[in-house]
């Protein structure tokens, strides 16, 4: 009997948690470094469609973003559920695109002007009508380099649900 009792009072030494803060800080720093601060505060739903023939947007060149989608849940009462355009932090109409592009161009150095890319971040549920209007507007102001921003994924499967 006494044999067994002896073993018991040794017990397990507690695991030292002294390095836990270090581990957590390491994770913290990783996320702090990897985080990209969002450029715009989204007022619309923006679930991007997926595609697999994508190219990376060249970050060396200037990029302007145009968002299209239906107003997010907080704004549905005020702005309805029809898809809308968002420029910067505001809802906008199709007519606002030309001044928006002009303002974006004014902020650029001259040699970068022809390299301006317009990234269209359009919600997958939006209708093409509005997107076509935006494209037409962009053609009018001669902003022809566009990028349909998408997530990486299977386009065919994505379009079916």
């Amino acid at each position: 009997m006494s044999k067994f009792k002896k073993k018991k009072d040794g017990g397990l030494p507690p695991i030292s948690t002294a390095s836990l803060p270090d581990i957590v800080f390491m994770l913290l720093f990783f996320f702090m470094v990897a985080t990209v601060i969002k450029e715009d505060n989204l007022l619309i739903e923006n679930k991007l469609p997926s595609a697999d023939q994508i190219e990376k947007l060249d970050k060396k060149n200037p990029v302007s973003y145009i968002y299209i989608g239906k107003p997010s849940a907080n704004y549905v009462d005020k702005y309805g559920s029809e898809a809308r355009i968002q420029l910067n932090d505001k809802y906008a109409a199709v007519d606002d695109i030309a001044p928006f592009i002009a303002a974006e161009r004014a902020a650029l150095r001259e040699e970068l002007l022809p390299k301006l890319t317009i990234a269209l971040k359009v919600d997958s549920e939006a209708n093409m009508g509005l997107v076509s209007d935006v494209k037409q507007e962009l053609r009018k102001v001669n902003a022809l380099k566009i990028n349909y921003t998408t997530r990486k994924g299977d386009a065919v499967a994505g379009a079916q649900n």
Binding site: F31, L48, P49, A51, K56, K135, L138, I146, K152, A155
Partner: protein, 210 residues
């Protein structure tokens, strides 16, 4: 009295504080999507006489308001599924039905006289309804780009077997800022040559309103 050492600070709650910060960043992080389909819009010019294009050289896609795809090509009209679009487009582009000066060297298609002459003549045209869903439109665009990329990959490997990469991979490498400039120059010439061999002749009609 002077010998009394400073009391040790209890660091037990350090982990909690760090966790709090960590969770804050985890929640607010939004992994930015910065990739997509690059396209060029046609410039706004006054309608001049449109050039005469033979019907067999046009691959006409129309996406209607119910997101169905109508295809008119090679003298037939049909509804086509999205998953068949890529293969059908490749078949059209690769047909090589041209004869004489329109003959296509690289084409490996069926050489159907009812379909496209060569890579340069073949045009893909896309039109859509105002009520077409954006995701369907993107899927169709994606499949068209995929069809071109399939052929460009094939020709790139055929022409530059020593590179050990496809057109898409070469393009990615060209755009990667970490690639040395000398290699970028080298790649640029090759990519341009393939782009001239298989140009993306893609036309988009204005959206129908009804």
């Amino acid at each position: 009295m002077a010998k009394r050492s400073a009391p040790e600070v209890n660091a037990g709650s350090m982990a909690d504080i760090a966790f709090l910060l960590l969770i804050f960043f985890l929640v607010t992080t939004d992994i930015a999507t910065d990739s997509g389909l690059n396209r060029k819009l046609p410039p706004m010019i006054e309608e001049t006489d449109p050039p005469k294009i033979k019907e067999r050289n046009i691959f006409q896609i129309n996406v209607n308001r119910n997101n169905q795809i109508f295809l008119k090509s090679g003298g037939e009209e049909k509804i086509i599924g999205l998953k068949d679009l890529r293969a059908t487009a490749v078949k059209f582009l690769d047909n090589g039905g041209g004869i004489g000066k329109d003959a296509c060297d690289g084409c490996q298609g069926a050489r159907n006289p009812e379909s496209s002459d060569n890579f340069d003549k073949a045009i893909i045209s896309l039109s859509n309804d105002r009520l077409t869903k954006y995701k369907t439109y993107i899927a169709v665009q994606n499949e068209i780009i995929a069809a071109y990329n399939t052929l460009r990959d094939r020709e790139f490997i055929k022409r530059y077997p020593g590179m050990g990469m496809s057109y898409v991979e070469a393009n990615e490498r060209y755009l990667d800022p970490q690639t040395p400039p000398s290699e970028q120059e080298n790649l640029k010439d090759k990519l341009e040559a393939i782009k001239i061999l298989i140009p993306q002749k893609f036309s988009e009609a204005e959206t129908k309103s009804n």
